[in-house]
Symmetry: C2
Subunit: 404 residues, 2 copies
Amino acid sequence: MLVVKKFGGTSVADKERIFNVARRCIEDYKKGNDVVVVLSAMGKMTDALLAQAKEINPNPPKREVDMLLTVGEQTSVALMSMAMDSLGVPSISLNAFQVAMHTTSAYGNARLKGIDTDRIRNELEARKIVIITGFQGIDKMDNYTTLGRGGSDTTAVALAAALKADQCEIYTDVDGVYTADPRYVKNARKLDEITYDEMLDLASLGAGVLHNRSVEMAKKYGVQLVVRSSLNTSEGTVVKEEVSMEKMLISGVASDKNTALISVIGLEDRPGVAFKLFHHLANHNINVDIILQSIGRDGTKDITFTVDEDNADETVEILERHRSGSLKCQKIELDKSVAKVSVVGAGMMSNPGVAAKMFEALYDVGVNIKMISTSEIRVTILIDEGFTNKAMNAVHDIFNLGEE
Amino acid sequence: MLVVKKFGGTSVADKERIFNVARRCIEDYKKGNDVVVVLSAMGKMTDALLAQAKEINPNPPKREVDMLLTVGEQTSVALMSMAMDSLGVPSISLNAFQVAMHTTSAYGNARLKGIDTDRIRNELEARKIVIITGFQGIDKMDNYTTLGRGGSDTTAVALAAALKADQCEIYTDVDGVYTADPRYVKNARKLDEITYDEMLDLASLGAGVLHNRSVEMAKKYGVQLVVRSSLNTSEGTVVKEEVSMEKMLISGVASDKNTALISVIGLEDRPGVAFKLFHHLANHNINVDIILQSIGRDGTKDITFTVDEDNADETVEILERHRSGSLKCQKIELDKSVAKVSVVGAGMMSNPGVAAKMFEALYDVGVNIKMISTSEIRVTILIDEGFTNKAMNAVHDIFNLGEE
């Protein structure tokens, strides 16, 4: 069996943890498996490197930032190989250039284009554990690139796809995917299995266990993902195309407080107004989430939408800049104290009552709903941030998610 | 004009020094020159990385040590490029893989085999300052290698040779090459020019300004070297094939306390004994310096030689191990409290009185000579370590080296 195992920065933050990971990989190796390990930079090393860069140049060239950051994972993989050597197991560390991890040239946010697997296969055939730098790539000019947020997960999944691995294990500080965040929902329960689509909706809605890009790639190439803890040996959650057990109506509840609500009130009701508004935002790489358009007073219309809270101020600035031109309106409002709460479940496709049941739960605990958005396998509502936990628990309970 | 400038670790140890180097390079660039900069790892970073490795594995695999160490120079070059950017000058950092700095696979002590110059030339043509990692290379399997002691100097000279640079400037913490170490000889004088051969003898004899490998390579490819200070703008010392001024008899006096004297007394006087002795040492990579063989008592012979003090104990162990076999002898003596003092000068080839004059100076100040070794342009004597400064000053004075 060929297994790709990915460990994040906290799992390799110090000597003790490095050896924990080494032993864990060796255990798998000694069963006769081919083991490929993907590592992030140690602990806060990436942050420290970025701080060092900013001290030299508050706005450093992105190409050089990636040149600097890639030393982080290279340090991790070299030390890991030394740890395995001291445990008597042959291994080799490879960075993005040695693997040949080809990406676009979008420094800081590059996309993987292809991976050469020859070197990896040769080293595996020589019965070595192959330890590979996550997060980084090289462009066609041999410049280093980095993959952006969640990059190491993406590296692991891409390697699993390229190597046709039997499994890709993503090690985190939680036991797996839960029906809700156990910090806020007491009887949250770990799921044994979940579909790619459910995982995608959970990730984008703030469950935060896996980055969307890695799940999308796993779905595209049919890579079986396992999310499990680096701290214990419990089984974790398998993410795959179809769950084998009878489909549950709802898989989980997720919340996301990093969201802001922007209302553009009293826009002229002319064709193309919505296009112009979102076109301006797209030009500044601002992702818009839920959009709601309603008819305003006196032949105008209102457009309300959510963005990540980090982008909220910039979004309002952009809109204000165009207010005298293409975006004439009466007022622009910003509300940062909102949160999204979502229920996700492949089972709801064939069951129209889910949204109504969710609204009922919120009504029962007196939580007001500001916006509603639905997809085939998801219902999302926007509420006051202060009610997040109350809403999560109410929804979790009404669908009996705490019960096996 | 194309100039290669090499700065060591202390020159890039912190933000302020990085900017000093950046400004110095930019000054040259703004004169219209093509500028290639070679950097070592910052300050004590290489030592810190090695300590980190040893913590994980007291005897880490050499391939992984090089994988780890190469992050040091990569950090330096990325930060340097960011500094130049903040000073408004375009630059690009390149590591051993991006340049394609081909070496042998001898991890920790690799030899340069060839350098691809296409990328560098393209970046220079685009009027960028090109900042390159010293000390590191890649082997034919794309593994990282390091060049061993003085490696960054070698990188700089090799780049100057490959690029047919007009000059290769090695920046250090001294103003240039002196007639003697100014810390010990008060009236030591900076030389304007020196030949490759003199520099080679001075380097190997403990002057320590340039590493032998870089001087050998400079001589082989006719690269004009300049040794100068990174702290001030004084002219430095030019190292080249022939010095243009009338040849001085003596260029300088050097001393080396890192030496130990080993005497093997009462060896059987059979053919091949000397061969066997030095063959055993060569098998353990121990370099022997001065060798003296004399006739001992009762038909035996004595062999006396010097090694680096670091290797002294191991050398004695090796000899003791073979004492019952191929190296039967009466006793083995070790003296670590010795020092080498040498005078070097291309002019002495045609002047036989140099050695005698040196011995006269030592006799005048009462210093006993333990061994003598000479080459065409060098006389080296071995003395008690405690007399090193006295001997240096006496020799420096008798040749009037303090006078212009």
